[in-house]
Subunit: 337 residues, 2 copies
């Protein structure tokens, strides 16, 4: 009988850093490390990025101090396709140079066989990859508050609004592997411009940038004096809004109400379709606690179809104060087993 | 080896009639019959309804003319709960009398153990029950255009707007068994009153009644002369709108454009979440063909997140001209096997 400890790699690829750790089935992390993502921003940097990442991972393996079996590698990354094992057209990584574009390289061809390329350094170790929100969702299911739940929704409120949907105990990847773009449902037709090129997406209201946009809109519509009026658009951050809201600033407080309202309305709609047991809220904005959770719940229930009224729990993620990105990525492996 | 032919019952319970048939695994129907639902409208009629239905089913069994094995019973009914085998608070069937209400019977206690009660007449035959839209969805998957698809959406446009969602090859029933109420996503906040007590639901625009409401709105906003202006609200039906639209009546044509627009917008939103391979359109309004399909497709694509643009097929149901309700109900059994 093989009693060697089993560990998996959880890798979180962000635009700035790539963090990774060795994790056991209970979510305990046995060593962490990171390399820069930003130093490999060019398209031609990609092969060197893979090599340096593999090298750093092997260094971490050596540093753990005991023998273990590496049973898999789970990766959370923007624009990752679970079915293909690829990262497709990532917006902040491995970009073409102006020369390459002039030479006719096409943006839509930036398709990286990530799982395959990293796999060359870890023969016979299964590799799973998905986007960060899906990884967080599976993290919640394997280590967090969704343990044992068959139908739930995870909403990640960060720079953008991400989401993951679980139905019948399985992640919904959809036909093409890109399901769960809840940040891009339209909450205000013809509303704010969104990074996706359309108008009125939830993300333009309920992300960290979205709530800042709300603050500027409210400084125009409300007359209350407020210390927020001393900030330029570039200076203001959602964390600052939180601080002033706690102190009772009426504009800052209203920002959280409006954000919760948009989220609550959008959630009421999606509950009618997927009928989850619970909705978990995760990410920077979720740290505002009741300030954001209360209006989300209130507007969701106010707008809920009677069939689902007072049935669906809205809960803070239990991974909120843990290393959720690495845990989520590692959970991909345990979930697949 | 048991080579006896295997058949299942498909039962479609509507507010007016209960139709049923014996169906094989390929969707061929070996005999059909029906009893009235309307004659058993009172709460106290329910036990007699079950008995008379069972009797009529046994008569059909005897009339088939060959021996077969009855391997299951599948039922499509309004407000049916797949998990519980129940019909819960149906709006048009088995209602309390005024006396019962005066005596303190509570509406929310009208919960019928349908599968169990019918099962007493068919010992050891598994019984499955779900709402009509879910039954149609499974029918499409087992016998129709969704054969082999793992991720698709079925939209039924009838008196109401129903839907069924399939992800990872499985029906999404949700935590409480009532998922798929796509007719009640809000498409116009504060818009038309809906039967559910809220405002602006898709169903208030895209059902048979919804398109009629649109016609009356358009008769007010447009000045074109039109034969529609000779109809009272109670006289007008969606089939009449179709006839005039085909003849080129500008108001009738505009009705279909507006209906397709609401549907297209709502579908674009839900595609971002579930990323289906295809969307099937079924029901009375779908018979209008291109008149309704073209605007649905156009507005869905116009509003689609780039990730999903031109990827999702919008198709008419392949059960459209068949006995879809009985087939759908029967498919529940084959799907569960």
């Amino acid at each position: 009988m093989n009693t060697m400890k089993k560990l998996v790699f959880g890798i979180d690829i962000g635009g700035t850093n790539t963090a990774f750790g060795l994790v056991d089935a209970k979510g305990e992390i046995f060593g962490e490390s990171a390399i820069s993502t930003k130093s490999y921003m060019k398209y031609d940097d990609y092969p060197r990025y893979i090599e340096d990442l593999a090298k750093a991972m092997k260094t971490l393996i050596d540093s753990v101090g005991f023998n273990f079996e590496l049973v898999g590698i789970g990766i959370g990354a923007p624009n990752a396709n679970y079915y293909q094992g690829t990262i497709e057209i990532p917006s902040n990584m491995w970009k073409y140079s102006d020369e390459q574009i002039a030479a006719g390289m096409r943006e839509e061809d930036r398709n990286f066989n990530f799982a395959e390329d990293l796999g060359k350094h870890f023969l016979n170790v299964p590799i799973y990859i998905t986007n960060d929100a899906n990884a967080a969702t599976i993290g919640e299911m394997v280590y967090g508050g969704a343990k044992g739940m068959k139908d739930f929704i995870m909403i990640t409120l960060g720079t953008g609004v991400g989401s993951g949907f679980v139905a019948n105990g399985e992640m919904i990847y959809g036909h093409d592997g890109f399901a769960g773009e809840f940040g891009h449902v339209i909450v205000e037709r013809g509303g704010r411009e969104c990074g996706c090129g359309r108008k009125g997406c939830l993300e333009a209201y309920a992300s960290a940038t979205g709530i800042k946009r709300t603050a500027f809109e409210l400084m125009a519509t409300m007359s209350d004096p407020s210390p927020l009026r001393e900030y330029t658009y570039d200076q203001l951050e959602s964390a600052i809004l939180y601080q002033y809201a706690v102190k009772g600033d009426p504009i800052a407080k209203e920002c959280f109400r409006v954000t919760g309202q948009k989220l609550g309305y959008a959630l009421a709609d999606i509950v009618t379709v997927t009928s989850p047991e619970a909705i978990f809220i995760f990410g920077g904005l979720a740290k505002a606690g009741d300030l954001i959770m209360n209006p989300i719940k209130w507007y969701m229930e106010e707008n809920m179809l009677i069939t689902f009224k007072n049935k669906v729990k809205v809960l803070p993620s239990e991974l909120q104060n843990k290393n959720a990105a690495i845990l989520g990525a590692s959970a991909l492996v345990w979930q697949a087993k």
